[in-house]
């Protein structure tokens, strides 16, 4: 086991107990994500220690919860009542794996309408979600499921160049960094879009000319990303034919 490997393991442990300074956290997170994309044992350690940190929190003495706190939380929740998720929507379309993820993301986007301060922003979010849903559910589109640093990223690309991305369970991008999607052709990347997951989820639509055989994701400098990848490959997958 080499020195760099042990160093990453120590960073993973420090990250899991939340012992990093705000200043170093983003940098360490980038380093961890780039390493675990290509290292199974560290990816497992990252997942295990992060989960362990939740279990460790259980050791603290439980506190009596006042009725007042429960009332406050329930009132606040009811005040921003989310709609029911469109559970059956995916069944009416051809069954593609991405549909379920898309339905969940749409539910989130619709919900943002109720939370959003700007009506225009909310309408825009819904429009993006509906467009993404349409692309991801198009049986003639080519699909890719990207795996790597954790969670799942679904991509769909139509022959007219419209494309969509949904992400779920993806680690937060370090401060100042964005995830960048690249479409690949014979190993050559073309910049497609950038995104920053919120609570692990993201949704994007885009248009792109050209023919591709795969997709990949790296971390790049925010807010606009790079024109050619500089970061380590975090996720990749082939487009279905």
């Amino acid at each position: 086991m080499n020195g760099e490997h042990v160093e990453i393991e120590e960073l993973i442990a420090a990250y899991a107990v939340h012992a990093l300074d705000v200043e170093e956290r983003a940098e360490v997170q980038t380093e961890i994500l780039e390493h675990i994309a290509g290292c199974d044992s560290c990816r497992t350690l990252f997942r295990e220690l992060n989960e362990l940190s939740g279990e460790l929190a259980l050791a603290a003495p439980p506190a009596r919860v006042s009725e007042d706190l429960e009332t406050r939380i329930m009132d606040a929740a009811r005040g921003e009542r989310p709609p029911a998720a469109p559970k059956n929507a995916s069944r009416r379309w051809p069954a593609v794996a991405a549909a379920v993820a898309a339905a969940a993301v749409i539910a989130l986007a619709v919900w943002n309408i109720q939370l959003g301060s700007s009506l225009r922003g909310a309408r825009n979010n819904t429009r993006v979600a509906i467009q993404a849903f349409a692309v991801l559910n198009d049986p003639s589109a080519r699909h890719a499921t990207l795996t790597g640093a954790g969670g799942t990223i679904s991509i769909a690309l139509r022959s007219d160049g419209s494309a969509a991305l949904t992400a779920a369970g993806v680690p937060a991008a370090p401060a100042g960094r964005v995830y960048e999607l690249w479409f690949m052709k014979d190993g050559k990347p073309t910049a497609a879009t950038v995104f920053t997951p919120e609570d692990g989820t993201a949704i994007k639509t885009l248009r792109l000319a050209g023919a591709y055989d795969g997709a990949a994701i790296t971390l790049e400098k925010g807010p606009n990303g790079a024109s050619a990848p500089t970061g380590t490959l975090l996720y990749q997958g082939a487009l279905s034919t």
Binding site: L20, V22, L49, E51, G54, L58, P61, A76
Partner: protein, 198 residues
């Protein structure tokens, strides 16, 4: 506050599955499921936040933020990354540490009141289900079984909110030692208690 009757001990996997079902129902807009989830993990959430922050009011605020973020985005839970319980408590820990560090930038770290031991002396009047209490004792036993130098590092960082750098100064050991002890301790704890599905 009305609390469900403590159930007979059930295998942890059944409870973990019930948590996942609650999250699914919350995603469908069920406030009953949301209340159930809060009653299940509210005491532990306020508990870890209170332990770190030391203020009841700020601990409750932290718990409120955690639960409302779950209500807004239940889809952020990813079962591939662990149990619902760990997900909730890790969020609570994370937010509480942020509060501690923010607060401490206002008042000097040296004024910190030494926290009480984890094992509260007989004051456990909180009504929680028995299986959760059993799990708590398992976690505490695993912490107590750590060699003292490792346990001190976990206490100084995880349970008191210090950064590695501050923990090194506080414990009077080099930064590298804090880092390696944290890793060793976390590995031992993982081997002893596993994750939330255990």
């Amino acid at each position: 506050m009305s609390v469900e009757q403590p159930s007979a001990f059930q295998p942890a996997e059944l409870e973990a599955r019930r948590d996942r079902q609650l999250i699914e129902r919350i995603a469908g807009g069920s406030d009953d499921a949301f209340r159930d989830l809060f009653r299940r993990y509210g005491p532990a959430t306020v508990g870890i936040a209170h332990r770190l922050i030391g203020s009841r009011e700020l601990a409750e605020e932290t718990a409120q933020e955690v639960f409302l973020s779950i209500w807004r985005r239940p889809a952020a839970y990813d079962s591939a990354r662990g149990s619902v319980r760990s997900w909730i408590l890790a969020q609570a820990h994370h937010r509480a540490v942020d509060v501690v560090r923010r607060e401490e930038s206002h008042r000097k770290r040296v004024d910190r009141v030494p926290p009480e031991p984890l094992e509260e002396p007989g004051a456990d009047q909180v009504v929680e289900e028995r299986w959760l209490d059993a799990r708590r004792h398992e976690v505490r036993r695993a912490l107590e079984a750590l060699p003292e130098d490792q346990r001190k590092v976990i206490e100084a960082t995880f349970f008191e909110g210090r950064t590695h750098r501050d923990a090194a100064a506080y414990l009077g050991v080099p930064l590298g030692t804090v880092k390696s002890r944290t890793l060793t301790a976390m590995r031992r704890l993982r081997d002893a208690i596993g994750g939330g599905e255990a």
